[in-house]
Subunit: 374 residues, 2 copies
C-alpha cells in the first residue's frame, strides 16, 4: 500500500493554506467600485461599456460593429510546483504552465461569447538569471506558442522584466492578458436570457488546473514522498498536478460555427462548483450528471480530508467549464463538442429560484450565499 | 553643502545595478520569433496583424473598421522606492506609482496612433496582508482610478493575486494591460512614411518616470541620507524619484482632434534617447533643442558619475516622448500640445541616413548599433 493511501491527518482546509480572502476582498470591492465609475470615459470615444460584464469574467465594450473583450489573469502558485518538480526530477514543466497561464486568460474571456484574438505575455522573473537556464526558458516559449496556436490567437508580445527584490530569487510570476471580440454581436453571452428550463453542459477538466494549488502544495508537505508520491495510476502527485489546463476556445468556437449560442458560461476556477451560482438571477441549478473526478483531485480531497461540500466548493472536480443554453440545443451541442475533440456532458438544468445549486446524487447543495463575488 | 553635492564615488554604471540584459535578450529574441510565427492564427478570424507593429511598442491587428492595439507593461522596481519612502516618512506614494504603471502601458500604446480604451490592473502582492494596510491599498485604488480618468480609459477590472513564495513578502508587482483602437485608420503611426525633413517634437518628462530605477536605487545606498537626501530644490531624493510619469494620451488625442497625425512616435523609456533610433529605416536624427533636465535626473547623473552618453543613453533627460511629423505641421502641433496643457518643444529633425542620432549642443552621438531591440 503506497503512502498515498495512508489515512489522512487532520483535515486541511483552504483557509489554512495561506490565502486570506477576507483581507483581499474589501480592497477588491473598493477597486470594483472605482473601476465601475470610470465607465463613462468611453463615451468620449463613441463607445460604451456593457454594464452586465462588470463582475463577470471579462470586461466588454460595445465598439460598434462588434464587442471588444479584455482581461488579465495570472497563473498563481502553480509555478512553485513546476519549480519543485524541476528540482526533484530535472524535468521541465514550464511548457505546461505556459499553457495554464494562457488558459486562465482565454477560458475566462470566452465566457462572454468572445473569440480570443491576441495574447500578451507577462513573465516577471526574480532576476535576470531566471532566463539563463535556457532549457527552462525555451520550454516556456515553446509552450506559450503552442497554446496560442491551439486557441487560434496571435501572441502579440509582452514583458519579461527581471524584478529582483519584488519577485523572489529563482521564481517567476506568469500572467497573460487577452483581447478578443464578440462577433457577430449575438454571440454575447452575459446571461440576460438565462431562464428556467435551460440546459447545463460541462466540459471535462484535466486535473486541478490552476486553482486550489495553495492547498495542494500544503498537502505535498505532509506526504512522506511529497510530490513524488505515486497515485494509483503510477503518476507522481507532482506531475499529475502539472497536467495543463485545457484550452476551451476551440470548443466554444466549434459551437459558434454550428450556430449554437450559449446564453451564459462559467469557467470553473476558484470556488469550484460554487461558480455555477455566479449569475445574479434568482435561479436554481440541478446537476444530474456528475463527471468523473480526475485522479489528482480525488487524491487531494481524500488526503486533505475534504468533505463533499469542501471538495466541490474548492475544486473543479472534473467539470472545467459550464455552458448554459437552450434545452433544445443541448444534445446537438454535446455532439458538436465531442466532434471537436472536447469531452462534454449534458449535466443538468436551470430551475426556477430561489437561487441554489443541488447535486442530488452526491448529496451536495449550495445556497445563494455560498458565492460572494460582487 | 549638502551630502547631495559630495563628489561622486566611482562611477555607477547601469550594468552594476543588477539587470543583465545579455541573459534576458536571447530569450526575448526566441520569444519574439515564436510570437511572430503565431500571426497567421488571425486569418481564421478574418483579421490580420499589422506586421510593422512587431518590434514596436504595441501590437496592432487590422480588425476591419479600425485597428486594434494591445499591450501589457509592468512598473518594475519603482515600487521598491515607494515601499522605502513609505517606511521612512509614513507617506503613501502608492497613488503615484499607480499612475506610473498606467503610464507605462498607455504611453506605449499611443505610439502606434491608438486611443487607449480599457485598462486592466494586475496587482500581485507578496501575501494577502499587503491589502490589509488599507490606507496603502486605497491610495493605489484612488491613484489608478484617477489615472484612468486622465487618460479617458475605462478600468475594466483585473487581478489581485496574493502570491506568497513568488512575490516577496510585503512587496507588490504592479502591471497594466491596455487595449485601444486606431480610428480612423489613418491615425496608424508605425513610421512607414517617416522621411528626411520631418520634425521631431519632444513632450516634457516629469522626472525619472519608471526606467533606470535600479541604478537610482543603487545610488540611494551610497548617499549618506539615502532617499532623504535633499536636492537643491529642497525635495528629498526619494520623493523626487516618485514624481509620477506623465500620462501622454490627452496630448496625442488633442493632436488628433486638431487633424495632426504624427507618422511615428517613440516613448522614451529604457535606453533613454537611444529610443530615438528605434525606427528601422536608415535615417539620421538631429536634436537642436535639448530640454531642461529634471532635477532628479541631473542629480542621479552627477552623483553616479555618468557622462553625457551614459546619461542620455539611459534616462529620458527631460524628453519623455518623441513625436515625428511633417515639418509643416510642427509649429502648430506644439501650439496644440501647449494649449492642451502639455509642455512640448520642436526639438529637431529627421535627416538622410546613415542611421545615427546627433545632439551637437551637448556633443552627443549615437550610431546605428547603439540600440538593439529587434
Amino acid at each position: 500500500m503506497s503512502e498515498a493511501l495512508n489515512p489522512p491527518h487532520a483535515p486541511l482546509t483552504y483557509d489554512q493554506s495561506g490565502v486570506q480572502y477576507d483581507l483581499i476582498d474589501p480592497i477588491k470591492v473598493a477597486a470594483q467600485r472605482a473601476a465601475a465609475a470610470t465607465a463613462t470615459q468611453l463615451l468620449a470615444h463613441g463607445m460604451q461599456e456593457v454594464g452586465a460584464s462588470r463582475g463577470e469574467s471579462a470586461y466588454v465594450v460595445d465598439a460598434g460593429p462588434f464587442y471588444l473583450a479584455s482581461i488579465v489573469e495570472c497563473l498563481g502558485s502553480k509555478a512553485l510546483v513546476a519549480d519543485e518538480m524541476h528540482r526533484l526530477t530535472g524535468r521541465s514543466y514550464y511548457g505546461a504552465i505556459a499553457q495554464d497561464t494562457i488558459a486562465m486568460a482565454v477560458n475566462d474571456l470566452i465566457t462572454v461569447g468572445a473569440t480570443p484574438l491576441v495574447v500578451q505575455a507577462y513573465w516577471a522573473a526574480g532576476g535576470s538569471d531566471w532566463f539563463s537556464d535556457t532549457e527552462r526558458a525555451h520550454a516556456l516559449v515553446a509552450g506559450w506558442k503552442q497554446a496560442c496556436e491551439t486557441c487560434g490567437v496571435a501572441w502579440g508580445g509582452g514583458e519579461t522584466p527581471a524584478l529582483a527584490g519584488i519577485v523572489e530569487a529563482g521564481r517567476i510570476d506568469l500572467a497573460a492578458s487577452c483581447t478578443g471580440i464578440v462577433q457577430p454581436k449575438e454571440r454575447l453571452s452575459l446571461g440576460d436570457t438565462l431562464q428556467a428550463g435551460d440546459a447545463i453542459i460541462f466540459l471535462a477538466a484535466s486535473g486541478i488546473h490552476a486553482n486550489g494549488l495553495s492547498l495542494a502544495r500544503k498537502l505535498a508537505e505532509r506526504l512522506p514522498a511529497g510530490y513524488l508520491t505515486r497515485l494509483p495510476s503510477g503518476a507522481t502527485y507532482g506531475e499529475a498536478l502539472l497536467t495543463p489546463t485545457p484550452l476551451y476556445p476551440p470548443a466554444t468556437e466549434a459551437l459558434a460555427r454550428a450556430g449554437i449560442l450559449p446564453c451564459y458560461s462559467a469557467n470553473i476556477t476558484g470556488h469550484g462548483w460554487r461558480k455555477l451560482l455566479r449569475h445574479p438571477a434568482d435561479l436554481a441549478y440541478r446537476i444530474d450528471h456528475v463527471p468523473p473526478v480526475p485522479e489528482v483531485l480525488a487524491f487531494v480531497c481524500q488526503q486533505a480530508g475534504l468533505d463533499t461540500e469542501e471538495a466541490y466548493g474548492t475544486f473543479n472536480m472534473g467539470a472545467g467549464f459550464a455552458l448554459f443554453l437552450r434545452a433544445a440545443d443541448a444534445d446537438r451541442a454535446v455532439a458538436v463538442l465531442r466532434a471537436a475533440g472536447q469531452q462534454a456532458w449534458r449535466a443538468g438544468e436551470v430551475l426556477p429560484g430561489p437561487k441554489r445549486l443541488d447535486v442530488p446524487s452526491i448529496g451536495l447543495s449550495f445556497g445563494a450565499d455560498a458565492l460572494q463575488l460582487r
